[in-house]
Symmetry: C2
Subunit: 197 residues, 2 copies
Amino acid sequence: MKLYDLELSGNCYKVRLFAALAQIDIDCVAVDFLGGEHKRAPLIELNPWGELPILVDGELVLRDSQAILVYLAARYGGAAWWPVEPQLQGEVMQWLSTSANEIQNGPSAARLVDKFGFVLDKAVALDKAARILGLIDGHLASHDWLAAGRPTIADCAVFPYVALAPEGGIDLAPYRHIARWIDRVKSLPRYLAMPGT
Amino acid sequence: MKLYDLELSGNCYKVRLFAALAQIDIDCVAVDFLGGEHKRAPLIELNPWGELPILVDGELVLRDSQAILVYLAARYGGAAWWPVEPQLQGEVMQWLSTSANEIQNGPSAARLVDKFGFVLDKAVALDKAARILGLIDGHLASHDWLAAGRPTIADCAVFPYVALAPEGGIDLAPYRHIARWIDRVKSLPRYLAMPGT
């Protein structure tokens, strides 16, 4: 099983983090992102979105970090990480959407501007980041984990770009429940760090 | 089971459409959106995000239209709409992320500007819409349905804001595979329309 990977991508890190936690073996293939390898054949044929990560497992090719988490957890990770109960799947799913939208367009976008020079509206990204970090902090005031009362792929999906928010010029100090949750994630057995977390 | 609902919201329509197709009984409760009812108690306590739809089923409260689709399909809809096979869950999940992010920030954002006067960057929304509509059209050139070779919640999640794109000033004529897919969705037994589709 191959993961087309970029070390500094939080989306790729979601997958590496979950694979480490759930003890799933994947071969990470480093992609020359700055050289645009993901925008050319053969990678653009695997993922017409032109984005990383891409997972290839036999005949299956998946784009989108949330989709890869669901697949890996459903196939190899067990119900601990991706519950089978409909209400718990719904709970986890709320945070996969948050990860795909609000986190991507908030703290992740701010980091893309500061760290990689992307041309995006930084003020909009910071506004979105402040809103979503406040909502997450409020949720974590009464929950140890994002969903299902235990660590799940919801935490793996949300953790990277929240923990990396300072690289987008965002101070996490006001979010004390997030700070404690970050410590809880880092204390999980087999936790894997990335540069910047 | 109650759905706090707004007739003109594509996110709410995702749920109404799926419930109709899968013959799931829900009570739609119309929310006074222009009056800000969703930003006040009691709705803001059900969903601190201050957004619609919200689903309440017994003790369970869910925000986020994708999460509601997963829950309803897993609990009441059967595996036809939300497969149990990991690889097919992964395939469907790719489109739930696309719905939460690219569709929301592309065609949906353009429509929010034109139809409801939201203060958003219309040019950015149109750029994002052109990119994602092109990618979806390319996918549908060789697929009748978005995932799993059959109608699933992926189609229910992506259909509303794609079909409503003309309300954001987006011409769908260049996307002929999307046009055929829209016709296929509209031909499904028990298809439910909304104003603008």
